[in-house]
C-alpha cells in the first residue's frame, strides 16, 4: 500500500489523475462497505434466510424422519390438519395467556424499578448490580431454579403458598393443570424485569430535569408530575419496548420446555414449545414447520396492528 502511494505520488505529473480518483471513489462508496459487510451477509443468508425459505416449503411437505419413505409434497394437507388439531388451539390460547401476563407484569415491575433507580438512595450502584443479576442467569438455569423452588420436597414456595392459604396443601403447582402456567410466568417475570428496567431507566434519564423543577414550583402533586410529564415522555419508548418484548416472549420456549415440557395435559403448551416438541420429539418436520408458519403469521398481524395504531396515535 505504502509503495503504491509513493509510485502514485511520483507519477502524479505524468498520469492524468481523474480516472484514478473516480475509481477510488467508486471503490469507496460502492464496494468498500460491502467488503466489511460480506461476512455478516453470507452468514445471515446461509444460516437464517435460506433455512427460513426451506422451512416455509417444509410446511407444504410431509417430512417425518421416523417415516422416511412417506415424504413428498402434500399441498395444504398440513394446514388442514392444523385447523382440526385441538392441541393447536389450546396452544394458541395458552400463547396469549402466557404472553399477556408475562409482558404486563414484567412491564409494571420494570417500570417501578426504573422509577426507583431514577431517584437517589444509599448504595445505589450495588443495588442496581444486584437487581439486574437475574438477567445474566442463563435461561435454562432460571427455569431449573424456579422448577426447584416450586418443588415441595426441596423448595419453599409450596409451603409458603399453603401457609398463606392460596394452596390447600403444599403440592407442586407445576403438576396442576389449572395453575401450572403460572410457574413459567413467574420465572419469566423474574428473568425479564431487569430488561424493562434498563430500557425504561435510560428513557427516564433523557427527560429534561427542568420540567420537574417547573412542576415543583407550580405545586404539582407527585401523581400529576408522573402522569403529565413522566408517562407522556416515556410513551414512545414503552410502545416500542412492549411490542418487541411481546414478540420475543411469544417466541420464547426455553422456560416452559424445561419447567413443564408443555404438560400437564398440554395446559402449559404454547405455540413455540409445540413447534419444538413436534420437531425434537416426534421428528415431524413438516408439521412443526406448519405450526411455525402459523405463529409467524400471527406475529406479523400483531406487528401490523401495533404499527397501524402507532401511526394513528401520532397523527393526533
Amino acid at each position: 500500500m505504502e509503495g503504491r502511494a509513493v509510485i502514485a505520488r511520483a507519477t502524479k505529473t505524468v498520469v492524468p489523475r481523474r480516472p484514478r480518483a473516480r475509481r477510488s471513489l467508486y471503490l469507496q462508496y460502492l464496494v468498500e462497505p460491502f467488503a466489511y459487510l460480506s461476512p455478516a451477509i453470507v452468514l445471515i443468508g446461509t444460516v437464517i434466510l435460506i433455512p427460513l425459505i426451506i422451512g416455509i416449503s417444509y410446511s407444504f411437505q410431509s417430512i417425518e424422519l421416523l417415516r422416511p419413505f412417506d415424504s413428498g409434497w402434500v399441498g395444504f394437507e398440513n394446514y388442514a390438519a392444523l385447523w382440526s388439531d385441538r392441541k393447536f388451539w389450546i396452544a394458541l390460547e395458552n400463547t396469549f395467556f402466557w404472553t399477556f401476563w408475562s409482558v404486563s407484569l414484567q412491564f409494571l415491575l420494570g417500570l417501578g424499578l426504573a422509577l426507583l433507580l431514577n431517584t437517589q438512595f444509599f448504595g445505589k450502584r450495588l443495588f442496581q448490580a444486584l437487581v439486574f443479576l437475574p438477567w445474566a442467569v442463563p435461561t435454562f438455569l432460571s427455569a431449573l431454579t424456579w422448577a426447584w423452588l416450586f418443588n415441595p420436597v426441596i423448595g419453599p414456595l409450596p409451603h409458603w403458598l399453603a401457609d398463606l392459604g392460596i394452596l390447600s396443601e403444599p403440592y407442586n403447582i407445576l403438576g396442576d393443570p389449572e395453575l401450572a402456567i403460572w410457574g413459567p410466568i413467574m420465572a419469566n417475570i423474574w428473568f425479564g424485569v431487569p430488561f424493562f428496567a434498563i430500557t425504561l431507566l435510560a428513557a427516564l434519564q433523557s427527560i429534561p430535569g427542568e420540567l420537574y423543577e417547573a412542576a415543583e414550583i407550580d405545586g404539582a402533586s407527585a401523581w400529576q408530575t408522573f402522569s403529565k410529564i413522566t408517562l407522556p415522555f416515556l410513551a414512545p419508548m414503552i410502545a416500542i419496548t412492549v411490542m418487541l418484548r411481546t414478540i420475543w416472549i411469544a417466541n420464547f420456549a426455553d422456560l416452559i420446555f424445561v419447567m413443564t415440557g408443555g404438560g400437564p395435559a398440554n395446559s402449559t403448551q404454547i405455540l413455540s414449545t409445540y413447534i419444538f416438541t413436534t420437531a425434537f420429539r416426534k421428528l415431524d418436520f413438516g408439521y412443526a414447520s406448519t405450526i411455525a408458519v402459523a405463529l409467524l403469521l400471527i406475529l406479523l398481524i400483531y406487528s401490523l396492528i401495533v404499527l397501524w395504531l402507532r401511526k394513528k396515535l401520532i397523527k393526533i
Partner: protein
C-alpha cells in the same frame, strides 16, 4: 416525583421497603440454588425447606467436578461460547463499522432484514438447520453450533457495535486519512483502541447468549462427549432427578461464567443496550 419523595418520611420508608422487595425477589432464587448446593445430602430431605441449613458442605461440588461429565460439558460450552463471541464480535464490528461510516445502496434494506431476523420465531428454522447440518455430516459437532450461534447473534451485535462506532467522531479517522494512511490503517490505529470497551461489551453479550442457548444445542447434539452445559445439565436432571444437591451444585457452576461476564459488562449495560434500542 423525586421532590415529593424527599419531603415525606412515610414515602421514604415506602421507597426503601420497595427497594428491599426488589432485592429479595431478585436474589432469593439464587440464594436457594446455592443453599441446596451446599446442604449435605443427609439434610436435604429433612430441612429442604428451611431457609438456613444447619450444616454446610462442599461435597456436592467435589462430586460434580470429579465424578461426572460436567467438566467436559463445561469445556464444550466454554469452547462454543468463546468461539461464538470471538467470531461474532469480529464480523459484527466490521458490519457495524460499515453501517456507521458509509452511505450505500441497500443499507436500509440490510438493516430491515437484520431487524426482521430478530423478530420471527427462530424455532422455525430448527428443522431445516437440522437437515442441512445432518446432510453435511456436522451433527454432534461443536463447530456447527458456533456457526449457527454466530449467525443468530450477528444482527444484535452489529447494532450494538454500530452505536459504539457512532459515538466515535468521524473527524479522528478522517484526520488520519488526510495524513496519508489508508482507511484500514486509520481503523486499526485510531478507531480500534477507542472502541475496545464496545468490543468488550459485545463479546460479553454474545458470550452470555451462547452460554445459555438450549434448544438448538438439544437438537443438534446428542452424543454425550459433545454436549454443552445446558444440554448436559438437562439430561442429568431427567436421568437422576433425586440428586438435588449435585444438580444445584452444577447449576451454581453454570452461573459462574455468566456472572463474571455480567460484572464485566455492568458498566456498559445501560449505555450500550439503550443507545442500541433507541435507534433500533
Amino acid at each position: 416525583m423525586p421532590a415529593a419523595l424527599r419531603r415525606s418520611p412515610a414515602a421514604t420508608v415506602a421507597k426503601y421497603a420497595a427497594l428491599l422487595c426488589y432485592l429479595v425477589f431478585a436474589l432469593f432464587p439464587l440464594y436457594w440454588l446455592i443453599k441446596i448446593a451446599v446442604t449435605p445430602d443427609a439434610l436435604v430431605f429433612t430441612e429442604g425447606t428451611q431457609v438456613i441449613p444447619s450444616a454446610v458442605t462442599l461435597d456436592n461440588f467435589r462430586t460434580v467436578l470429579l465424578q461426572t461429565d460436567f467438566l467436559s460439558y463445561f469445556g464444550n460450552s466454554l469452547y462454543v461460547s468463546l468461539g461464538t463471541a470471538a467470531v461474532t464480535t469480529l464480523v459484527a464490528a466490521a458490519a457495524g463499522y460499515a453501517f456507521s461510516r458509509f452511505d450505500f445502496a441497500g443499507k436500509k434494506l440490510l438493516i430491515a432484514v437484520m431487524l426482521i431476523t430478530q423478530m420471527f420465531p427462530l424455532l422455525m428454522i430448527i428443522a431445516p438447520i437440522y437437515k442441512i447440518i445432518s446432510q453435511v455430516g456436522m451433527l454432534n459437532s461443536l463447530t456447527s453450533l458456533i456457526v449457527v450461534y454466530t449467525a443468530f447473534n450477528i444482527p444484535f451485535a452489529t447494532f450494538l457495535m454500530q452505536s459504539f462506532f457512532d459515538g466515535i467522531p468521524k473527524d479522528l479517522e478522517e484526520a488520519a486519512m488526510m495524513d496519508g494512511s489508508t482507511r484500514f490503517q486509520a481503523l486499526y490505529k485510531v478507531v480500534f483502541p477507542l472502541t475496545l470497551p464496545g468490543l468488550g461489551a459485545t463479546l460479553g453479550f454474545v458470550f452470555t447468549a451462547a452460554w445459555s442457548e438450549l434448544l438448538f444445542a438439544l437438537m443438534l447434539i446428542s452424543k454425550n462427549d459433545a454436549m454443552t452445559f445446558p444440554v448436559g445439565l438437562l439430561t442429568f436432571v431427567s436421568k437422576f432427578s433425586v440428586d438435588w444437591g449435585q444438580m444445584m451444585a452444577a447449576g451454581v457452576l453454570a452461573l459462574v461464567p455468566s456472572c463474571l461476564f455480567f460484572i464485566f459488562i455492568q458498566r456498559y449495560l445501560v449505555q450500550g443496550l439503550t443507545s442500541g434500542a433507541v435507534k433500533g
